[in-house]
Amino acid sequence: MHMANWTRPLGAAAVMLLFAQAGAAQETLKLGISAPFSGAGATWGLGMEWAAEQAAERVNEEGGVTANGKTYMFDIVSYDNKYSATEGARSAQTMLNRDGIDFIVGTVGTAPLRAMQALTERKGVIVFNVAWGKSVKGPEFPYTFTQMNTPFEILVPFYTFIKEQHPDLETAVLISPNDATGQELEPMAIETWKNLGVEMLASDWYERGTTEFQPIATKIASLDPDLVDFSAAPPTDVGSILKELDVLGWEGVKVISAGSSVEALMAVAGEAAEGAYLGASADFSGESATEVQKELNAGAREALGEPLNGLTISPYDAIMALRAAIEEADSVDPTKVKDVLPSVRFESSYGPSGFGGEATYDYPQQMLLPVIVTRVENGETVELTRSNPAELEALIND
């Protein structure tokens, strides 16, 4: 893991040198990644960058992408958005104006994405993202495409599945990090649980960077709900709270909607994480994973010391979608590419996919992917169900 950090600048330099020499032979199409590469979210950036590089390598090995009679090779360029709006805007300005990038194949965070959109939508640059907010989508953002399931896709099937498993669930407590994602997710989570007949006893906020979780655990334990929903809290924070809850003797259903990295969760919570349901995780080495996912996951484990998750694998799918769209449009003009993207069909790492979500966002810009519910069992992620949304089902059977 830490080796990757040391060698990154070196590796980038080596790649640049390589392309400088190869540049004469065919054209290079630069694809940008804007993600946190420092601070607490650094693992996201590193994982996304790695997955994107694998996808680019695959495309290049298969002869690149051909449009308008020319062959293009993909090259990944990464920028640190520090998970903040200002840096998101800055990385966009640098990408667009300095480096002439027309396609961004991965960005994390609602706030930085909103910052980027101010520029990308005006200048006509395609942004693939994993932001969860509803506010970043709609007909006024035709260049924005989401490459991962968001709560609007996940929550209803996820919560419904949990309620089916535990029919006697009546009360719940919601814990959200006080950030953009947490704030956008909270009302939706409360609403969905209410529709399933679960009463929300409390919805509490905590600041990111909190180190001591006993007070909140004490509160949860004394409310004694049937279920605790950790919403968009990062796995280490959830782990800490679960550990404290375990000490206090609370036993109930643990739900982590944004749960992605089981490794981090297990490392902190240990046995206290047993039985937790995760909404955004996937076991890419398990039975139902595709061959592509198994291969990528094994590679990531070796290169980064961590397996991939739903978030970090997503640039792969974005690049596959982009390749299909460029070939369909027979152009690398982002305006033409964005027009074909909503209807393009491609092979994602999960299998056949396309874009949809018009009913939710008024514009088909959500990548259609299976909703995977996993659970921690004996310290491992176990996939419980993988269900295709109706739109995806229709697309596959088409």
């Binding site: 509490d204 800490s240 000490v247 010391g305």
Partner: protein
Amino acid sequence: MELFVQLLANTLQIGAVYVLFALGLTLIFGVMKIVNFAHGGFFTAAALIVTSVVPFATVELGAPLWAGYLLAAIVAIVVVLCLGALVYGIGFQHVLKDLNGSFILSIGLLLILNGAYLAIYGGAPRTVPQVLPGTVSIFGAALTAQRLALVIVAAVVTGGLYLLIERTRLGLALRAVAMDQEAAMLQGMPFKRVALYGFLIGAALAACAGVLMAPINAVTPVSGDEFLIKAFIIIIIGGLGSVPGAIIGGLFIALIESVGGYFFDPSTATLATFILVIAFLLVRPQGILGNVE
């Protein structure tokens, strides 16, 4: 009643680390009159070292967990003391009593340290296995054996520091230098050496806090920064440079977080602590026990 005891237990658990961390910071401020932002870097260094030495000792050397942890604790404190001596020698001794200069220097050092930790360890949270597994129940309040040990060790270290300051020759010099540097020098106290010792004791306290925290919370390259901000609030409330003030302030902030987090929510408790500190600075800028200058 049970709830009351549990909230009190929470306060002690949270407060233990706060007190250790803030004691180091307040000692350094008292003796050297510098606001040391790099203090969190010492904490993080110790915690990160524990996360690498424990697996090494238990897996590579086959030592039992407690021995591995003890070895890690010693290595961490020694390394942090060397680091402290290095930054004092290169940097701080040139900016003693220069508030702005030392503040900026400490920020530069913090950036370098954080960057180095990120480069060496990566951003992913690291953990150490619990040395003392199990849960203890005291008057109906539940807490882990590990946390109980933390509270006890922190209390012992705090008591030791108190004795050192009140009963030893070095303690006398530290107090004298903190109250009036020039007068202390006139009594034959070598200011720069006393300042170095004060700085190293402060660094060792931060290292202690880091060592104790490592098996309890996940460690990241920025772990210390969160405690740093808390510790500043604590020493403002307790009085800059006051050792008993840091103890009272640490427990006070822990109480607010524990009770506020329970009755309201942690976000509100965080905001409340900041507003409290502003109120404190305006009404009683010298803190609960600070000196009037």
